[in-house]
């Protein structure tokens, strides 16, 4: 069974500060996705990283896939209250049956104005 560990579990910061969320595993993934979930809604995909060492930027969000394809990070620059939510990483194993994903436990981010 492939496991993804996210850290920290909870993060509370002031508007304008930076934050980083980590997603780690002992397993290798073919791709890794980051989702954001707001209260009362389902998760929504932010980004997919597929190449070891890949860095993707989405406005103030920077996503990195580890060289060994076992870990990933999400960095938010100058966080805003609108960034508040639950961030989930999800990995897809090579030749995963049924297109299945393995989800991390999530990091709850609170950005205070």
């Amino acid at each position: 069974t492939q496991l993804l560990e996210q850290s920290p579990q909870f993060l509370s910061i002031q508007e304008g500060e930076n934050l980083t969320v980590y997603c780690n595993s002992s397993s290798v993934f073919s791709s890794l996705q980051w989702y954001r979930q707001e209260p009362g809604e389902g998760p929504v995909l932010l980004v997919t990283v597929v190449t070891g060492g890949e860095v993707k930027k989405l406005k103030r969000l920077t996503f990195q896939f580890g060289d060994a394809r076992k870990d990933s990070s999400l960095h938010i620059t100058a966080a805003q209250p609108g960034d508040t939510g639950l961030y989930l990483c999800a990995g897809r194993a090579f030749k995963a049956a049924g297109n299945k994903l393995t989800f991390g436990g999530g990091t709850r981010v609170l950005v205070k104005p």
Binding site: G42, A90, A97, G98, K100
Partner: protein, 114 residues
């Protein structure tokens, strides 16, 4: 937004009663999934389907069954609900070869078993 609906959105039931949750999609995607979400556990896969009448177990399938008689509908049944099945249930869909198999999620069903 992907066309995924779940019904009911909220349900309160008693221990021992059967419960069926419905997921309906209008995207004609091949794969459908049922997850449960509990604090500290992220999303855990219950069952998934890779086609009409083709289903398989996920990591937390005990106490749950599923059926998919049409491409658009995926049903999750709790034969005899227990308090440990109190959770928020999400349905998701995906398609091979589309955007790295991104999964699109429904709005969720909050189930409380008393």
């Amino acid at each position: 937004d992907a066309g995924i609906t779940q019904s009911p959105r909220h349900k309160v039931t008693e221990t021992g009663t059967p419960v069926t949750l419905r997921c309906h999609q209008t995207e004609n995607h091949r794969y459908m999934y049922w997850y449960r979400q509990d604090p500290g556990h992220g999303l855990r896969l219950i069952h998934y389907s890779y086609g009409v009448k083709d289903t398989d177990k996920g990591e937390v399938s005990d106490g749950y069954s599923v059926s998919r008689s049409k491409t658009e509908d995926f049903l999750l049944t709790l034969e005899s609900a227990t308090s440990s099945q109190t959770s928020v249930y999400f349905c998701a869909i995906s398609e091979s070869g589309v955007s790295y198999n991104e999964q699109f999620f429904g709005p969720g069903t909050r189930l409380t078993v008393l």
